[in-house]
């Protein structure tokens, strides 16, 4: 038994060491740095206690609240959109139709396109004058939009671009769907229920663990949105897409205020922890695990 443990540890050691060296270590370091005024270019670093944190919350740095608000707005728009759309797509892909494998591939394909490439494609699609989307709208005599270039539409536009890459979430939903035993549906058919009853009483309850997992992943992923701001908008127009992590990166690598940026990072960590915790807490009332008991 003890020997088993030893081998177990030995074989997992690359992963464990990797975690300690590349994740836990830097995290501890950044926690320490967040209590200092560490600036890459300055020779002396002093311990400043919670000064960085009080500067954040004091309102002196209005970009902190602005970026936080923008990020919340983004999360609020994106998480429900990702969950609902990928669930619907997964349902469609789960139907027994001809060419199902082809459709599945098409849906998943964008997920393997590099973020930069897909962002460039979206920049063209959303171009206000020449873009395909506005051209199509004009052709249909519908109102057009400035998409990424106007303050009011930039966040919804960014959400739209990220929805293209929901392939991963869809796959997880598909796995959840295929785990539902056929006899449940047969039972409904015997009782005379239609597709709505199947969806409402079998499919949705049975995939709640998957919804739960995907929701948490979507929340974490959305709070950490960065690529889109970096490539598509550079935080503009008028700082309207200054996502939290983009602001953090700018503080750390353009303003070189690593101490302050570390404090920003830890605040985000606490926020994400808090929301994950909330979802976990509420999950008891809506997530069903096979076998009847609730988690």
């Amino acid at each position: 038994m003890r020997k088993g443990l030893l081998y177990g540890l030995l074989f997992t050691s690359p992963a464990i060491l990797g975690f300690i060296i590349f994740t836990l270590g830097p995290m501890a370091a950044s926690l320490g740095l967040s209590l200092t005024d560490y600036n890459v270019f300055k020779a002396h670093t002093a311990f400043v206690g919670f000064d960085n944190y009080s500067r954040l919350f004091s309102g002196e740095d209005d970009l902190f609240y602005k970026s936080l608000g923008i990020t919340f707005y983004f999360v609020l728009l994106r998480v429900p959109a990702v969950i609902i759309i990928s669930f619907v797509v997964a349902l469609l892909l789960n139907m027994n139709v001809k060419g199902r494998a082809v459709f599945r591939t098409i849906i998943y394909l964008p997920s393997i396109v590099p973020a930069v490439a897909s962002a460039m494609i979206w920049m063209w699609l959303l171009n206000p004058d020449l873009g395909l989307i506005n051209s199509a709208l004009r052709w249909l005599h519908l109102p057009t939009s400035n998409w990424l270039y106007s303050e009011s539409s930039v966040i919804p536009s960014v959400v739209l671009t990220t929805l293209w890459g929901i392939g991963g979430t869809v796959i997880i939903f598909l796995a959840g769907l295929s785990g539902i035993p056929k006899q449940y549906y047969e039972a409904i058919e015997v009782d005379g229920g239609g597709w709505y009853s199947k969806l409402r009483h079998i499919t949705i309850p049975m995939v709640t663990p998957t919804i739960f997992f995907n929701t948490i992943m979507a929340i974490i992923g959305s709070f950490q949105v960065f690529n889109e701001a970096y490539i598509l908008t550079q935080g503009g127009p008028n700082n309207r897409s200054l996502f939290y992590v983009f602001y953090l990166w700018r503080t750390a690598f353009q303003d070189t205020e690593m101490g302050y940026a570390s404090a920003l990072a830890w605040v985000l960590f606490i926020i994400i922890l808090f929301f994950t915790f909330i979802v976990f807490k509420t999950s008891k009332s809506w997530v069903h695990y096979e076998g009847g008991e609730r988690a």
Binding site: F41, L130, Y149, D255
Partner: protein, 482 residues
């Protein structure tokens, strides 16, 4: 049997662990890159013994200098030419050139954080050069300049010297870049209009400029912007592309007698009448006269060479570096002097080369710096149009001037007046070179100006609304003592 299998797997596991640990440590090895050149070249001492006459007073101990640059491939090629010349002159010195095309500042910041600075680095005055200089990371090049037998500060063209404060030079630009009005000659010929003058003394006033721009802005039905039935929603050809970054509007702010900060460096000045008027006039080109694309529409306008060639715009305000692309695309372009608000003026921008204090070989680094400024080494970039020379003699001595301004696609007939003379007589230092904390001030100004270019606010409203916040970031001027 099973025991043997186990020991094999233990071996593999150990191997994996070692790999993991080793790969975690590599960074600390490369950290000492500057002196690893010394130990890793056992072959060179015998080779360099015969060649130290060229180096003169230098010893023949082998030296490696590390240098970082950004830039397009042709610029890197020019650096390589300069370096090859330099290495020939000093056979004991090897230059390790690192080209960092993207995220340069981030990478350099990381090097500084890891105590792994290069010896000589190209630096950007608008971003990290001054924050680093304020921490004393660079040599004061004034000390080298004042004792150097070959080159004096007076030999350099104006406004390519970057100083932290008077007397503390932190970087020298390899060449200045001015702004000018580029135009497609065919468009003017077809429209029967007189092209922009090239001499500063004959420069257009702003109103004359607006009138011409109106006539050259054409909608999809062929009507121009001075026609009452002109349709500003379907513009086929814009009169002028103005570009809305600080480099472009600084020309007109200066021309109108304005500035980014007051003369004593104590007050934010972009919300003062002179600067506001200049910025408002530029914004009016977009939102009142519809002769210039807004920042959103400008996303569809290609680079100046293609924009002029495809007649998407008739004129473009751009840096002199645009001549390289224009020459390559064989468009019939010419260059005129910028329209004048109060007096002719161009901002001079340029990168710079700085020497890190951490270098072990400051003398050799200075020699390398000089080699990079040498116009002869950069002759390909000068004739292609990308650069202008750093030595004054290359502007004043007719034979040297001819070398890079005559019989070249990149140097049309207006070039000497509109670019060379303006640089010598009516040029202004880039704001990045004398406004302290420029970055932080612009982080506040740029988002506010977004609204001005889009016509949602007047320049006065937008700049007044952020004046207090910008004022809080004003820390003075570098060209004023104290």
């Amino acid at each position: 049997m099973s025991r043997q299998k186990k020991s094999v797997s233990v071996l593999i596991a150990l191997l994996l662990m070692t790999v993991a640990i080793l790969s975690a440590c590599t960074k600390s090895d490369s950290g000492s890159g500057a002196d690893s050149g010394n130990s890793a070249s056992p072959a060179s001492p015998s080779g360099s013994a015969s060649s130290d006459s060229a180096g003169g007073e230098k010893s023949n101990e082998p030296i490696t200098l590390r240098m970082t640059v950004w830039g397009a491939p042709e610029e890197v090629a020019a650096y390589k030419v300069a370096i090859a010349k330099f290495e020939k002159k000093y056979p004991n010195i090897t230059v390790n050139l690192q080209h960092i095309p993207t995220d340069y500042d981030t990478k350099l910041t990381t090097m500084v954080a890891g105590n792994d600075e290069p010896d000589v680095a190209q630096m950007e005055s608008a971003s990290i050069a001054y924050p680093l200089a304020e921490q004393g990371k660079f040599y004061n090049l004034q000390d080298f300049l004042s004792s150097d037998p070959e080159i004096k500060q007076d030999d350099l063209v104006p406004n390519i010297t970057y100083s932290l404060e008077p007397g503390n030079v932190i970087g020298l630009g390899p060449g200045p870049e001015t702004f000018a009005l580029f135009y497609n000659e065919d468009i003017f010929k077809d429209a029967g209009l007189t092209p922009p003058p090239s001499k500063a003394s004959e420069a257009w006033t702003w109103d004359e400029f607006v009138e011409v721009a109106k006539k050259l802005t054409i909608d999809s039905k062929g009507r121009n912007a001075s026609d009452p039935s002109f349709d500003p929603k379907n513009i086929k050809q814009y009169g002028v592309n103005i570009g809305t970054w600080w480099g472009n509007y600084s020309n007109f702010v200066y021309s109108n007698g304005g500035d980014f900060v007051s003369e004593d460096g104590k007050t934010f000045a972009l919300n003062q009448p002179a600067a506001v008027e200049a910025i408002q006039k530029m914004a009016d080109l977009i939102n009142v006269y519809h002769v210039a694309p807004s920042p959103v529409q400008a996303k569809n306008i290609p680079a100046t060479n293609i924009a002029l060639q495809t007649k998407k715009v008739a004129m473009a305000i751009d840096g002199q570096w645009a001549t390289a692309g224009l020459a390559q695309s064989k468009v019939h372009f010419n260059v005129g002097v910028l329209p004048v608000m109060k007096e002719p003026m161009t901002t001079v921008v340029s990168g710079m080369f700085s020497i890190f204090k951490s270098t072990k070989h400051p003398k050799e680094a200075w020699e390398l710096e000089k080699a990079l400024l040498d116009p002869d080494a950069a002759i390909d970039l000068l004739t292609a149009g990308t650069w202008m020379p750093s030595y004054k003699s290359w502007y004043t001595d007719p034979t040297l001037l001819a070398k890079w301004t005559e019989n070249l696609d990149s140097r049309p007939s207006g070039y000497k007046d509109a670019v060379v003379d303006i640089l010598l007589n009516d040029s202004h230092q880039t704001p990045t070179g004398y406004v302290k904390n420029f970055n932080k001030i612009m982080d506040i100004v740029n988002p506010a100006l977004d609204k001005v270019w889009l016509g949602q606010q007047s320049a006065q409203e937008a700049l007044d609304s952020i004046a207090a916040k910008a004022q809080a970031q004003v820390q003075g001027r570098r060209d004023v003592k104290g």
